[in-house]
Amino acid sequence: MASLRHKDLLGIEQLSVGEIQLILDTAEALREVAARPVKKVPALRGKTVVNLFFEPSTRTRSSFELAEKRLSADILNFSASTSSVTKGETLLDTAYNLEAMSPDIIVIRHGSAGAPHLLGRKCKASIINAGDGMHEHPTQALLDGLTVRTIKGRLEGLKIAIIGDVAHSRVARSDTILFSRMGAEVCVCGPPTLIPWEYEKLGAKTTICLEEAMDGADVIMMLRVQHERQNEAFFPSAREYASLYGLTRERMRAAKKGAIVMHPGPINRGVEIESEVADAGCSVILDQVANGIAARMAVLYLLSGNAGLTPEKSR
């Protein structure tokens, strides 16, 4: 099987169409491991993977951990609930300490955009970005791509609506780049306070009108509204947000017949998505979770052996 020529996976931005296809194909092939009685392949036997999580995360971390275990890697979990700064040790010092343990891959989740890039420049190990600030969350986009491709059979030509807090969402950025690069038509939507400047240049249409975004959509991706994290007021209340941008059964009628609903989770029932919709047949939220393991296995597998390559720039 071919491999990726990158040392690190810092964002979807760095991936070509062919490379995205390769990862999705690999993920599809690896997905059957989950159906085996012994859910394990020896692909990463003898390799060490560090999971370095500076932000609390249950789903992404468990997903990576399971992916690593199914590939037979040795795992070291290193979580710091606080940022490196408040801990007194800098991110780089932490990285150098880990590097001394000769890991092959470091999976990092960090609250600051660019933290994986800093590590990528300084560490020999391959770096996988598991979410950096408001920047990118590439493995989420890959699992989203895998989910859509599996259900719809293709990505090209689909209409994808991404709705919600686009400004603070790394998922929105990675998804926008991935889907538009693969030939889908991406439309992002949210209140004007949550659409960042010049977002169109990422390859998406932007609109503040929910009906316009939903019109004829094949895929509706709802973003989590992080009301608790925003000490600034981007909208008056969760209640008003739900009434203006919440996904309801009623509003689903504008979408194409057979449209699917996705969400990176964890969902806020009754805010960005009505319970009825979240639990309806059109919802593929749990498929996303299952595909997450396969997509991450593919990335780990394709990057293993790339440690020590020259680090690339982000853009």
Binding site: V85, S112, A113, G114, D132, G133, H135, R173, P196
Partner: protein
């Protein structure tokens, strides 16, 4: 005569000079200026092919002493300044403790005397502790030697306090220097708000954060009659506001930094989140940089200043969000401007002299910026053919935080002379 510079091109707009001449110096002052001085000097410099300017003054530096001597001291900062071609620097008050009283001003000046190289002109705080609430003892500090007041880095948000500061500054005929930033509008931002903040997922600083404050200051300056100087102007709209006020006769001046003239926010992406591209105000758009260059050529911008902001590697090598704002500048500014703006023919030598010497001297009332007979012999000699590479490891500054590492430049300082003494030569 103690020193004679032979046959250099003397560029001094105060005397409308741009011609090859001899400059004679005695007792620390310019003693003679003529096409050929017959007398022999105790020391002579062959300045053929070089350009001789009234001494360059960087009116916006941070020397970090007292408080953060690990990043810079007055001595290391002054050594860096003379290496960069500056004969004088004006240092901002955001030290620890803040220069908000006579004692701190006196301390800075005594340390500067010990360093005995470039002139150091302290800037006092506007408010006590730069807290933005009550006026500092500006009169006392003035007596001790401050040349301006500023709460640089902690801009006065309260319009009433700023108004009083401007009114009060008239007592001493010193300028109020403002780092224009509406802190609520800028809150949490680390990079210019625009395409790059969006793709990099970094919090943006809205250009309006600067622009509304520039407009406020223009209004208050008009009303109070104070002399107000806008520090490190960074957007085209800020510049338009200053130009408009100037046309109306308001005593408003402004400065631009080499990095805002030469770089844009694309540098943050190109360098993959290098924290040496993080400064405040942030790097802006190409349209802004182009407008600033037009401004220094036209005269809408009065001064080039560096906002020299040393930070130790330990402090700067952090996540982009957590790293402090600012870069060092005194050792690269002159060469950058020579290479990128003077040599390509964008900026004439006369404008260079005004921007780096006559104007900062005039704004701060330093009685310099000229090579007229009898003036202090503070002189910057440039070699427009000198080839150099920016090598942070060679800096005289204690800090290395520059986005210009590795840049190959042509044109730079050859001699730095302060009160007739050669304090640095290449």
């Amino acid at each position: 005569m103690q020193l004679i510079l032979r046959q250099g091109r003397v560029v001094d707009p105060s005397q409308k000079l741009n011609r090859v001449m001899d400059v004679g110096i005695d007792n620390g002052r310019v003693a003679a200026l003529s096409p050929k001085i017959a007398e022999k000097g105790r020391r002579e410099i062959d300045a053929r092919g070089l350009v001789v300017f009234p001494g360059f003054i960087d009116m916006h530096v941070h020397l970090r002493e007292p408080g953060r001597e690990d990043a810079e001291t007055i001595e290391s900062g002054v050594n860096a300044a003379v290496r960069g071609g500056f004969t004088g620097v004006a240092c901002m008050p955001n030290t620890q403790p803040v220069n908000d009283c006579e004692a701190v001003t006196a301390f800075i000046l005594s340390r500067a005397r010990e360093a005995a190289k470039a002139n150091v002109y302290p800037i006092g705080a506007i408010t006590k502790g730069s807290q933005g609430k009550t006026l500092a003892e500006i009169g006392e500090m003035r007596r001790a030697g401050i040349v301006a007041i500023s709460d640089d880095g902690h801009p006065v948000g309260d319009g009433q306090v700023m108004r009083r500061a401007m009114e009060y500054s008239r007592l001493f005929d010193i300028p109020v220097i403002d780092h224009c930033e509406d802190r609520e509008l800028a809150a949490g931002g680390v990079i210019n708000e625009g395409y790059y903040s969006t793709v990099l997922g970094l919090r943006g600083i809205n250009p309006a954060a600067e622009e509304v404050q520039v407009e406020r200051d223009a209004v208050l300056a008009r009303q109070t009659g104070a002399r107000v100087h806008i520090a490190h102007i960074s957007t085209r709209h800020s510049l338009a506001a200053v130009a408009r006020a100037k046309k109306e006769g308001v005593a408003l001046t402004c400065e631009a930094t080499p990095h805002h003239l030469l770089l844009t926010d694309a540098a943050v992406a190109e360098s993959s989140y290098d924290t040496n591209t993080k400064m405040n105000p942030p790097l802006r758009l190409r349209e802004d940089a182009d407008a600033l260059v037009a401004g220094i050529v036209s005269g809408d911008i009065d001064v080039i200043a560096t906002d020299h902001a040393p930070h130790s590697i330990r402090d700067k090598m952090l996540e982009f969000d957590h790293a402090p704002f600012g870069i060092v500048g005194v050792e690269t500014a002159v060469s950058l401007i020579c290479d990128r703006l003077v040599r390509p023919g964008i900026l004439p030598l006369e404008r260079l002299a005004e921007l780096f010497s006559a104007n900062p001297s005039g704004i701060l009332n330093l009685n310099r910026g000229t090579l007229a007979k009898g003036a202090y012999a503070d002189i910057t000699v440039l070699d427009m053919e000198r080839k150099l590479e920016v090598r942070p490891e060679d800096f005289a500054s204690r800090s290395r935080n520059t986005p210009f590492a590795g840049w190959k430049l042509c044109g730079g300082p050859a001699f730095t002379i302060v009160k007739g003494k050669i304090v640095w030569s290449v």
